[in-house]
């Protein structure tokens, strides 16, 4: 589903973020990418989202070559990918309900679909009671659950979670990981970046270790080796 073929990424200031990365992720896989800060995890995510382009090599998502993607086609790509971030990135002036509904609106869903799907997804992440709260009225764990609800509401082919538990306490971290696992069990591909050892070991899934822009290990059943 995702293919990186000998990808290099050099930023204008000379930093080499990716140094000859080759990897592939199959449909339905749960892949954790671990590594120190600056190892290239976030750059990897940005390339998959079409937020940035590789300096050399090719990145593709299904049949879409992300190196040649036109900027007007990027929104269509992103509607197929659900993203979850460490800093949640919710719209501060919209309620939990509206944040999730926004993702459906941009995907061109009808009002009826929105009215039936949004409460359902929020129930899935156990936020029915706080549906009409604004982000400032929610705790960190609740914010991340809204972000997950937003990421899955369009039934994407791929979920990218970039350090989703970085700002959360252990209990919330556990809950978020359980939700991600449940999503994966339903057939959605999940790419998770993290430096939380406990998360990786509890999952027991494929782990890719990165260091200085290179892949140093690729274990099919996860160990956190840094």
């Amino acid at each position: 589903m995702i293919y990186f073929d000998n990808v290099y990424k050099v930023y204008p200031d000379g930093t080499k973020a990716l140094d000859g990365v080759t990897l592939s992720v199959k449909q339905g896989e749960f892949v954790s990418i671990v590594g120190h800060s600056g190892a290239g995890k976030t750059t990897l995510v940005k390339l998959i989202l079409g937020e940035d382009h590789p300096t050399e090599g090719s990145v593709s998502f299904d049949s879409v070559n992300l190196r040649k993607i036109k900027s007007k086609d990027v929104p269509k790509l992103r509607r197929r990918i659900g993203v979850i971030f460490q800093d949640f990135r919710l719209l501060p002036n919209k309620t939990a309900y509206e944040n999730v509904a926004f993702a459906m609106e941009v995907a061109g869903k009808t009002d009826d679909e929105i009215a039936s799907d949004v409460p359902h997804v929020l129930e899935l992440v156990d936020l029915t009671k706080k549906m009409w709260n604004f982000p400032r009225q929610l705790s960190g764990g609740e914010l991340q659950r809204v972000a997950i609800a937003r990421a899955i509401v369009n039934q994407p082919d791929l979920i990218i979670a970039d350090e989703p538990t970085g700002n959360l306490d252990p209990i919330n971290t556990y809950e978020i990981v359980q939700i991600l696992k449940k999503i994966n069990d339903m057939g959605t591909t999940v790419v998770l970046t993290t430096h939380n050892k406990g998360v990786v070991e509890a999952l027991g899934k494929r782990v890719i270790t990165m260091d200085h822009g290179k892949i140093t290990r690729d274990d099919s059943t996860g160990k956190y080796a840094l």
Partner: protein, 308 residues
């Protein structure tokens, strides 16, 4: 699909305008100042225009006709002058008319009326009053008059006894220069004022959108198309413009009312309040349209930076 998107964009714009209350309020305040400047320039230009036109109307040349001249001669002279392209109008005042006007003008001054009665005969000459299309053309008309021998004062065939252009030459020249200067200054001030108001509005809206730049980033990540992200901001900009245009119009009424007295003392003929009320529809359209255009264009341009 298009209508659904449009409906959602408009709704999102309204909600955002309401929820970002403090930002909207400051943007509206700045736009009131900007629109106020545009509207004031509009009013002042109109006011100056009327005042100048009145002033221009007061400039003329009087040709005093010799008392020997017959009415037919005077009429033919009037016809000749009227053929000049620079001339707008030539008025004939007969001796009797001049006397009647004089009496009317001095009806409260017994001594002058008494003196007039003592003279017995009508001492006033008949006159042709010439009005030019532009104040700067009086000199040419005066030259023409003095070059035509049968018209020039003192000539053997002349029926003209006196042309008062030379007496008033300095005043007329000064006035016509002043009028040209005021017009030029007026258009420069208008351009500068409109430029300033566009700049401050644009910068305020840019700041308002700068505050929302992270939101724009999130909307893009979720897969919003450019138009769908930009739409609500443009709607918000239009709302800033509409709200501030209405407030500007509302505060203009008491201000023109208050200025009414001042402007009437300065120049009797023009009444700002009357002008405001009489041209309300036009002023309304100019302000509303400026507000909407300023808000929409500023928002459109300001968001563009974060959509690249």
């Amino acid at each position: 699909m298009f209508w659904t998107a449009l409906k959602r964009i408009i709704k999102a714009g309204f909600i955002s305008f309401w929820r970002n209350g403090s930002v909207s309020l400051s943007a509206v305040f700045v736009m009131i100042v900007a629109l106020f400047m545009i509207a004031s320039t509009f009013l002042i230009t109109a006011f100056l225009g009327t005042a100048l036109r009145d002033l221009q109307d007061k400039i003329d040349i009087n040709i005093y006709v010799d008392s020997k001249a017959t009415e037919a001669q005077i009429i033919s002279l009037q016809k000749q002058i009227e053929t000049l392209p620079e001339v707008k109008k030539v008025n004939y005042t007969s001796r009797e008319q001049a006397l009647a006007d004089f009496r009317l003008r001095h009806e409260n001054d017994h001594r002058i009326i008494q003196a007039l009665d003592e003279v017995g005969d009508n001492p006033l000459p008949a006159a042709l009053t010439v009005k030019a299309k532009e104040p700067s053309q009086y000199e040419g008309i005066a030259t023409f008059l003095s070059n035509k021998s049968e018209l020039s004062a003192g000539g053997a065939l002349s029926i003209v006894s006196k042309v008062n252009y030379n007496d008033n030459k300095v005043a007329i020249e000064r006035l016509s220069k002043l009028i040209i200067g005021v017009k030029k200054l007026g258009s420069i001030i208008t351009a500068v004022m409109i430029g300033i108001s566009i700049l401050i509005t644009f910068n305020t809206i840019r700041l308002a959108i700068f505050i929302a730049r992270d939101e724009i980033g999130v909307m893009r990540l979720v897969g919003g198309s450019r138009e769908y992200i930009r739409g609500p901001f443009v709607v918000e900009g239009i709302l800033y413009g509409l709200v501030s245009a209405f407030i500007t119009l509302i505060i203009f009424y008491p201000i023109t009312y208050w200025l009414k007295n001042t402007t009437q003392v300065f120049y009797g003929g023009v009444d700002l309040l009357h002008y405001f009320v009489a041209n309300f529809v036009q002023i309304f359209l100019v302000i509303i349209f400026s507000g909407i255009a300023l808000g929409a264009v500023s928002s459109y341009l300001a968001v563009r930076k974060y959509l690249r």
